[in-house]
Each structure stands twice: as structure tokens, then as C-alpha cells.
């Protein structure tokens, strides 16, 4: 061993892990996209030009107002602007730019009043146009609501469902899997048979059957809880089976016997000595399973049994695209689809990178 390696300060596994992750460009891209999305969702009131339920009834199915820099007479404007929209065909909802009306896009204009986090009263938004102008970055829906704003508010529900879901199902999965693997015997048999039962239902069929056990019309805050619980109920099973398998081998270690010999209780040994060893797997599994919950909410709301209007979620926004005529005439209502796609992609990028970075063989070899 050369002096160089000896003098090198030893790095903790987490520091090594971070070093590997940072080198992985796709994983970092995924991570950054997710940070941006979650921030946008968190401060949705500020980033959205309009409120979630604000309707512009005369301007429904209005196409996106594209920001311009050069006006119809060829003059360059330093500040981007949008044109007003006029309806030219009310039957087919065809709009045209009204090039006589220019509305410059302003930073931090005063708009609808809101309360940030339900506490701080504010009326500034990130972007907006003044007077009669409208800034519809992604067009409007059937009620004349701004799709971009609803996308941000919908992100709150759709993005947090995943986090709330993995918290519950991973807590359950680790605990149940830990108990099952640690105690073995009849406890193990009973738990494993019940996981088999849950897993032998096709997921979406079971999700819908469970959903049917609740009334059809439920306020969306309660519905949100129900969706999280249902989706967690579907996923704890496979999680506990994997944790159980890991616990079976971990519990053979001497330090587990030592902990028992020191007189620690069973639950303490499971929670403090065994389960932490499964953590690197759990982190990767959690990251790659978040999209499952997001897609679960999308599926339920899309099928009309999830989050109900007027509250926005990516699933119920996509529901409007169900009719072929609406879809072909107003393709911008597919916007939530692109965003869901990007979110899932980002989670998969990040998950893949985490898997590589947490691979113990690589850390040992570093």
C-alpha cells in the first residue's frame, strides 16, 4: 500500500455514496427535475398565474397564449408579450390572436389574493399580464380554467400521494417483514400467506374493488386519504416479502445474537439492529416505487372514482381527454400526461443512479 492511500482520509459510506451519485449525470438530472417539480407544487399559489378554480367562462378551450418578442409590425420588444385572444368560430372553438392588443408579461405582478400555505396573505404571482390580458401558458380547459395553473395545483395532490404512500407502506412492509423473518414459525406462515393473497389479485382490479367499498362522492381531502391507504395496502405485501428475505439472512449475524445476549427485547433488536441493514435497499426500492403511487392516483381519478372536480389532480385533468373529439381539437389538455411522463422518468433515472451508487460492491472497491 502506498503512502498516498494511507494518508487519504477515510470517507464514510454516505460520503462515498454521494460522490458516486454526483458523478451520474442522468441520476442528477432526474433529481433536479424532481426538486423543481416539488418546489413548484409546494409554492403553487405563487408560481401559478391564476387560482385553481378561477374560470374565464368566455374563453373555454382557449389555446395556449404564446409569448412573443416581435410584434406583427416587426418591432422588437425587450419584454416578452402575449396577444389577446378572439373567438372566431364558436362551434369549433377556434381562436385567433388579436394582434392589436399587446400585453407584456410582468414579473411579480399583483393578481388574485391568496394565502401562502394558508397563512401568509399575498397577492403577487411569479408571472402575469395586466389589464384585460390573459396569460394561458398551456391553454384553458372546458370551463375556461388555466391548464398551467391547475397543473401546479394538481401536482400537489399527485406528487404527494407518492410520498405519503411510500411512508405508510414502507413502514408497514419493514415492520411486518421484520417480524415475519425474525420470529419465523407460525407468525411467518400467517403473514406470508396473507401477502400471497394480496399479491394474487391483479393490482388495478383490487384497487377498484377496494375503492368501490366507499361511497362514490367523497370530498377530495377524504378521497386523498382513501387513495393513499388503498395504494399502500396494495404495496406493503411485496415489500414485506423482500424485507423478510433479507432479515432471514441478517438475523444469523453474531451481533444479533450478541444484542439478544445483552438482554435487549425482540422489537428493539428488530428495529435497531436488523432493519437498519436493509436501508440501502429500502431507499432504492422507495424511489422506484413512487411512480406506482402517482400512476395509481392518475388511474383512479382518470376512471372517475378518484379526486373529484373542481379540485385539480393530474388524473382528473387527463380525464377530459377521454373523448376523441376533445382530444384532437384541443390537444393541450394532454399537458398533464407529459408532466406525469417526465415525473416517472425522473424517478426512474434517480432510482437507477441510487441503485448503482448504493451497490456495496462498488463502495467497497472504491
Amino acid at each position: 500500500m502506498s503512502d498516498k492511500t494511507v494518508n487519504k482520509p477515510s470517507q464514510s459510506p454516505w460520503a462515498l455514496f454521494w460522490r458516486y451519485l454526483r458523478r451520474n449525470k442522468t441520476a442528477m438530472t432526474g433529481g433536479i427535475i424532481l426538486i423543481v417539480f416539488y418546489t413548484l407544487a409546494f409554492f403553487a399559489e405563487f408560481f401559478a398565474p391564476y387560482g385553481m378554480e378561477t374560470q374565464e367562462r368566455s374563453l373555454f378551450y382557449c389555446p395556449p397564449t404564446r409569448p412573443h418578442l416581435i410584434d406583427s409590425e416587426g418591432h422588437l420588444h425587450l419584454r416578452p408579450f402575449v396577444y389577446g385572444k378572439i373567438l372566431v368560430d364558436s362551434k369549433w372553438r377556434l381562436y385567433e390572436d388579436d394582434t392589436s392588443k399587446l400585453y407584456p408579461i410582468r414579473l411579480f405582478p399583483k393578481g388574485e389574493a391568496y394565502r401562502l400555505f394558508g397563512l401568509v396573505p399575498m397577492e403577487r404571482h411569479l408571472l402575469g399580464v395586466e389589464n384585460e390580458g390573459k396569460l394561458f401558458l398551456l391553454g384553458t380547459d372546458q370551463f375556461g380554467r388555466d391548464v398551467f395553473s391547475r397543473l401546479l395545483f394538481g401536482a400537489r395532490i399527485s406528487l404527494s400521494v407518492g410520498l405519503a404512500g411510500i411512508l405508510i407502506s414502507f413502514f408497514l412492509g419493514m415492520l411486518v417483514g421484520g417480524i415475519s423473518g425474525y420470529f419465523g414459525g407460525i407468525t411467518d406462515t400467517v403473514i406470508m400467506r396473507s401477502t400471497e393473497l394480496v399479491m394474487s389479485f391483479p393490482a388495478l382490479y383490487l384497487i377498484l374493488a377496494l375503492r368501490a367499498a366507499f361511497p362514490v362522492n367523497i370530498p377530495s381531502d377524504k378521497m386523498y386519504m382513501i387513495i393513499v391507504v388503498i395504494l399502500s395496502f396494495i404495496s406493503w405485501a411485496s415489500m414485506s416479502r423482500i424485507i423478510r428475505g433479507m432479515v432471514l439472512s441478517i438475523k444469523e449475524n453474531d451481533y444479533v445474537t450478541a444484542a439478544r445476549a445483552l438482554g435487549f427485547g425482540h422489537m428493539r433488536v428488530i428495529v435497531k439492529h436488523i432493519l437498519p441493514n436493509t436501508l440501502s435497499f429500502v431507499i432504492v426500492a422507495a424511489t422506484v416505487s413512487v411512480p406506482g403511487y402517482i400512476l395509481g392516483e392518475v388511474a383512479l381519478s382518470f376512471l372517475g372514482v378518484g379526486i373529484a372536480e373542481p379540485v385539480a389532480s393530474w388524473g382528473n385533468m387527463l380525464k377530459q381527454a377521454q373523448s376523441v373529439r376533445t382530444l384532437t381539437s384541443f390537444p393541450w389538455i394532454l399537458a398533464p400526461g407529459y408532466v406525469i411522463f417526465m415525473t416517472v422518468l425522473a424517478f426512474n433515472f434517480l432510482g437507477d443512479g441510487l441503485r448503482d451508487a448504493l451497490d456495496p460492491r462498488k463502495i467497497m472497491g472504491a
Binding site: F201, A209, A213, P215, V324, L327, L334, G337, N348
Partner: protein, 321 residues
């Protein structure tokens, strides 16, 4: 091997009992039944409703209903659909066939593409071919089915090259057998792509990883040292070993696709089991829901069983006591 298969089949019995019991429990928890909606109709008297309720046994406790349902189901009588007034089994039979057609075609699509793509990716590792194939696989793994299906519908509607949904053309009845087959295949193309792309991407990554693993083995080096052409090293020596685990996964893929077809069926109007189940859940058509839940689970279990058996047959290292 025979005892293994037999044991697995016997193991299915308590599982199926559990599935039916659990499904019945969930559905009974739901408020109201099919007749509740009917009682809103002023043209139907309360006596008629009560009569029907007694006739269908809906006035008894749920466990008695479950016992009756189970007894009949053991005689292959899955009850009547309230809404359609036909035996549940005859409804499900046709829909299951449609779901099977779609899933099978998606499985073929996924496998037909993933294996050659995986091979090319592995053989030309880290070239632009590999990178773009891996990127496409990543996209395929991440695209939400609902969104993909909607994009395909948009594509079909804009270009007019494909039907925008459904399984048959209006004039299907008047076509010759060959014409009917072609019509079916024509309607099958887009749903197949949507349903198959996720499996395709997953299997491709697997095929690539397997082949790369195999190419590192000693016997490959030996084969190369013997002076065999690269072609025969890859296709005769490496590929046969790398492809083995994938073949056994065919059963899993099919089982996954059968149950995963739900959303594609609903969005693309494919008359499969998913669509039927959704409608039955909305109308609280109890026995129809039970029947389709049971059938969907049976398809999943049988698919997994077939995969396990194939695994046991092809891999002699696996010993089942």
C-alpha cells in the same frame, strides 16, 4: 416434477378460497347494492324491489350470500348479472378471450422486439446503438399507459391510419373469415404497442444484462481462444445461455399483461375484462364483479404457475422438494 406441479395446484385451492372470500367481503362493505339504484325509479314499486331482493338473496347477511355463491361457483354456476340478465360466465368468457388476445399479442410484440434489441445492445455495448436503445427502453418503462394510449388515439385520429379504438369495424359481420381476421389485427396494432412497450423495455434491459454477463464467462474466452468466429461465439455459445432465464419469464410477462391490460382496454375501448369489471363496479353488479375479480386472479395465478413450471423444467439446478 409431477409432485411439484401437483403440490402447486393444491396450494392454489386455499388461495382461491381466500380470494373469493376477501373479494366478497370488500364488495359487501360497499354501501347499497344494484337494487338501490333501481329503487330510485318511481316506476318500480317497493314490492317488486323487495321481491327481487329476496329472489337474489340480497336480504340475507353477507356470509350467507357468500356461502350460497361459493356453493354455486363450485358447480361452475357464477350467478346472473343483474344488469345484463345473462349468466355471468357467458359474459366473462367472451371478454376474457378478448383480453387474452390483446395480452398475447402484446407479449409477442414485447418478446419479438426485446430479444433482438437486447442482443444488439449487448454486442455493441456503449456504442450509439446501445445508448439509443437503452434510452428508448427507459422511455418505454416510464411512459404512463393512460397517456401513451391517449397519444396513440390522437395519432390515429390525426393520420386516419388506424382505428381510434374498439376491436371490430362496423361491417365486421359481413366480412369473410380472412377479412375478419385482418380487421381484428388492424384494430389490435395500437393497443398492442401501448400494452407491450413496458414489458418490451424491461425484457430488453434484462436480455442485454444477461448477455453481457454471459460474455464475461470463461467458456466464452475459451471459445474465442479456439479461434471461433465472433458470430458463432455470440450466437452459438453465449446467446443460448443468456436467453434461458428470459424464456421462462414468458409466463410472468403474459400473466402481468393479462391483468395489466385494464387501463389500455378502458382508454382504447377494447371490449375486454377490464371494461366489463369497471362497468360492473359502477352498477354494483355483485356477481359480475365477483366473477371478473376471480377470473382475473386465476389468470394471474396460472400465468405465474406456468412460469414457475417452465423454470423448473429448463433449469436443472433448481430442485423442488
Amino acid at each position: 416434477m409431477k409432485t411439484y406441479i401437483l403440490r402447486r395446484l393444491i396450494h392454489m385451492i386455499p388461495l382461491l378460497l381466500g380470494i373469493t372470500f376477501f373479494s366478497f367481503l370488500i364488495i359487501s362493505l360497499a354501501p347499497g347494492d344494484y337494487l338501490t339504484a333501481m329503487s330510485q325509479n318511481p316506476q318500480i314499486t317497493a314490492e317488486t324491489i323487495e321481491g327481487l331482493r329476496t329472489k337474489f338473496g340480497l336480504d340475507r347477511p353477507w356470509y350467507v350470500q357468500y356461502g350460497m355463491w361459493l356453493w354455486n361457483a363450485l358447480h361452475l354456476d357464477f350467478g346472473y348479472s343483474f344488469a345484463n340478465q345473462v349468466p355471468v360466465f357467458s359474459l366473462i368468457k367472451e371478454r376474457m378471450l378478448n383480453t387474452f388476445i390483446l395480452a398475447f399479442s402484446a407479449a409477442l410484440f414485447a418478446w419479438g422486439l426485446s430479444i433482438p434489441l437486447g442482443i444488439v445492445s449487448a454486442v455493441r455495448q456503449n456504442t450509439w446503438v446501445d445508448r439509443s436503445a437503452s434510452f428508448v427502453a427507459f422511455l418505454g418503462l416510464s411512459i404512463p399507459e393512460v397517456f401513451f394510449a391517449l397519444l396513440m388515439i390522437l395519432f390515429a385520429a390525426r393520420t386516419g391510419w388506424f382505428p381510434v379504438g374498439g376491436m371490430k369495424s362496423i361491417d365486421f359481420e359481413y366480412l369473410s373469415y380472412g377479412g375478419q381476421l385482418l380487421d381484428l389485427l388492424y384494430h389490435l396494432i395500437l393497443p398492442t404497442i401501448v400494452l407491450g412497450s413496458i414489458s418490451m423495455a424491461g425484457r430488453m434491459r434484462q436480455m442485454r444484462a444477461n448477455l453481457l454477463d454471459t460474455l464475461l464467462q470463461d467458456y466464452i474466452q475459451t471459445a474465442r481462444a479456439k479461434g471461433l468466429s465472433e458470430r458463432s461465439v455470440i450466437y452459438k455459445h453465449a446467446l443460448r445461455n443468456a436467453i434461458n432465464p428470459l424464456i421462462t419469464l414468458f409466463g410472468f410477462t403474459l400473466a402481468h399483461l393479462l391483468s395489466g391490460a385494464f387501463l389500455v382496454e378502458v382508454v382504447m375501448n377494447w371490449p375486454g375484462l377490464g371494461r366489463l369489471t369497471l362497468d360492473a363496479l359502477f352498477t354494483r353488479d355483485l356477481y359480475l364483479v365477483m366473477g371478473s375479480l376471480l377470473m382475473a386472479s386465476v389468470m394471474l395465478i396460472l400465468g405465474n404457475l406456468a412460469a414457475d413450471i417452465m423454470l423448473a423444467v429448463t433449469d436443472p439446478r433448481i430442485r423442488y422438494e
